[in-house]
């Protein structure tokens, strides 16, 4: 029987170290099986969280070879096939570690609560009549309702790793979108206004959240949906919205990007001037040509027609 090794990141409250555990591989088992085996047979001090063993509670998410995954539902055979028989097992990234693989959810829960991710029902509902919605309306938020708060999306989020002060965990944006899209909720305006101040346009587009989610959510797409809604509500005078519109304008005007205009439209004149050292650097290497004005592409009239047709279809 072949051996499998877990190289586990351990933390005893003071010092961090890596400990290796090797045991016999058995086909058809999960990552969690290995952790339980270690705790029961090799080292009772190894600490981790797990509860439902059915991919419902979200408690057992860990990082295996740099990828967040639910320990209870991820087949060991799959990860061995991907990464080999020596696996690195760490606590989720972008969380404070309490002990070994156990992370601190308290600060995350506070941040989540700050975004009021609960239903604020329309006035037509009451305790007596309840808060029902049509199946078709629930279907619109069905995917987001599947979030089990396992933290996998946050673990690999590049923006949180760079700076978590001005950005929230991706699951929070997914949940905020869920309530904005919920036909029973009356607080869309307040939610959008609040989330704009909580990093809505600061996502780096790394797509890790969508990639890591074990329940098929795409927080990155929900961020785009929140941005679309904010624009529809008139919040256009910010770097993110101006930048997005700069692309649309160039596509409509000529078909292709004009980098000089992009900078001016996204950053304004003063903002662009602050990037003067960068612009100079690019000019000197011939990478920036202020006199490059792309002409209209062949078939530019098609673009105009298509964009007009899209607008009419969405009226």
């Amino acid at each position: 029987m072949s051996q499998i090794t877990y190289k586990v990141s351990r933390f005893d409250g003071e010092k961090s170290y890596t400990q290796e555990y090797s045991f016999d591989h058995q086909p058809g088992k999960t990552i969690l099986w290995g952790l339980i085996k270690i705790k029961e047979e090799l080292d009772p001090t190894l600490t981790f969280t797990a509860a439902c063993r059915s991919a419902v509670c979200g408690a057992c998410s860990v990082r295996v070879n740099g990828q967040a995954m639910l320990a209870c539902e991820t087949p060991l055979d799959d990860v061995i096939r991907r990464f080999g028989a020596v696996l690195t097992v760490e606590p989720l990234g972008n969380f404070t570690v309490i002990r070994d693989l156990v992370i601190d959810w308290a600060p995350k829960a506070e941040r989540l609560a700050d975004s009021r991710v609960w239903l604020i029902p329309k006035d037509e509902f009451s305790a007596e009549t309840g808060c029902r919605q049509k199946a078709a309306d629930f279907k619109k938020i069905d995917v987001q309702a599947g979030c089990i708060l396992c933290g996998s999306c946050a673990s690999e989020c590049n923006k949180l790793s760079a700076n978590n002060k001005d950005f929230l965990e991706p699951f929070t944006y997914a949940k905020v979108w869920k309530f904005v899209a919920d036909t029973r909720d009356k607080a869309d305006g307040e939610r959008i206004k609040a989330i704009l101040d909580k990093g809505l346009w600061k996502c780096l587009h790394c797509v890790e959240c969508t990639t890591q989610c074990p329940k098929g959510l795409s927080p990155g797409d929900d961020i785009a949906r929140l941005r679309q809604t904010s624009i529809k509500m008139g919040y256009r005078d910010n770097h993110g919205a101006r930048h997005a519109f700069a692309f649309l304008k160039d596509i409509e005007d000529t078909g292709r990007l004009n980098e000089m205009k992009l900078s001016l439209r996204s950053d304004g004149i003063i903002g662009s001037m602050r990037k003067f050292p960068l612009a100079l650097r690019l000019l000197r290497r011939g990478k920036l040509n202020p006199f490059h004005f792309p002409g209209k592409v062949k078939g530019h009239d098609q673009i105009k027609t298509i964009l007009k047709a899209v607008r009419e279809s969405e009226k």
Partner: protein, 288 residues
């Protein structure tokens, strides 16, 4: 081998050197790149923030133009690849008729007959590493290269699905085929932050510094990336990035086509290496 070539906007702008290098390398390898007449900006991962359908329709037109040429569409930019593949996935998954009612007004139809690929994938899957090896005139022996994939050639895996997003090896395999040695580094699969140039600029600068420093610490002579946006971000922001992390060694950042070109025996000027900001002189000495 023949492709409908979608260069993307940056190859006409701040990443001209990648256009020069890509066309030069394609010529030597005998890969025919026919530029798509009338291609437009893909929306650069920003257009969907205004409207999903606009993003899908604009790229449906781009793909339809390649279909008219009866060729697979090839890009050299990760984000273009993602935007085009995302549109194609939506079109093939139920939006085709709806979008075609819009395209019809412009006299175009999306059929779904052209695949969308990237230069890296085309080299590995279509051209073949053995064939590439056969074309190497000046093996890059002794050159250590940090393979930096960039997000949008790997993620989301449901749309990109060329290789395991967590454990990719195509870029390292190309590096080996060229005679160079790939070095592992901590930031290999991380994000360069380019798309947040205007919204999270400080983060992007810090990421640039940390990424290049990580490659320095791994002993890399250069970074290579299949994405011109990653290249641009890691190269042009490097002075600020270095200052942010306190790293004094410059890290050259090459486009995939430039690394291949060097091994094919093309001269640095034929690959426009001098258009880069960071550390190109040290790299030229190393490969000369």
């Amino acid at each position: 081998m023949k492709y409908a070539f979608f260069p993307g906007c940056v190859l006409e702008g701040a990443s001209k050197e990648n256009y020069i290098a890509t066309t030069a390398v394609a010529k030597v390898l005998g890969i025919e790149l026919v530029e798509i007449p009338g291609w437009t900006c893909c929306g650069a991962s920003h257009l969907q923030d205004i409207d999903d359908l606009t993003s899908t329709a604009v790229n449906a037109r781009n793909i339809a133009l390649a279909e008219q040429m009866e060729l697979p569409l090839l890009t050299v930019c990760n984000t273009c690849t993602l935007m085009l593949r995302k549109a194609k996935a939506k079109l093939d998954d139920g939006q085709k008729d709806k979008v075609n009612t819009l395209l019809t007004k412009a006299g175009i139809e999306y059929k779904g007959t052209s695949e969308i690929t990237h230069l890296l994938w085309a080299i590995v899957r279509d051209y073949g590493l053995e064939n590439l090896k056969g074309k190497v005139k000046r093996p890059l022996t002794g050159l250590t290269v940090a393979a930096y994939y960039g997000c949008h050639i790997l993620r989301p895996p449901a749309v990109m699905n060329f290789e395991d997003h967590a454990n990719p090896e195509s870029l390292e395999n190309v590096i080996r085929a060229l005679g160079a040695e790939p070095v592992d580094f901590a930031y290999k699969l991380k994000c360069c932050g380019f798309h947040s140039t205007y919204t999270a600029n400080e983060d992007m600068i810090n990421i640039t510094g940390a990424t290049c420093q990580s490659a320095v610490q791994a002993g890399a002579d250069c970074i290579v990336t299949p994405c011109p946006l990653c290249q641009m971000s890691l190269d042009m922001n490097q002075p600020e990035g270095q200052a942010a992390v306190g790293c004094s060694k410059e890290m050259p950042v090459l486009h995939l086509a430039q690394l291949i070109g060097l091994a094919l025996g093309l001269k640095p000027e034929e690959l426009a290496l001098d258009m880069h900001i960071a550390g190109i002189n040290q790299l030229k000495i190393k490969v000369s």
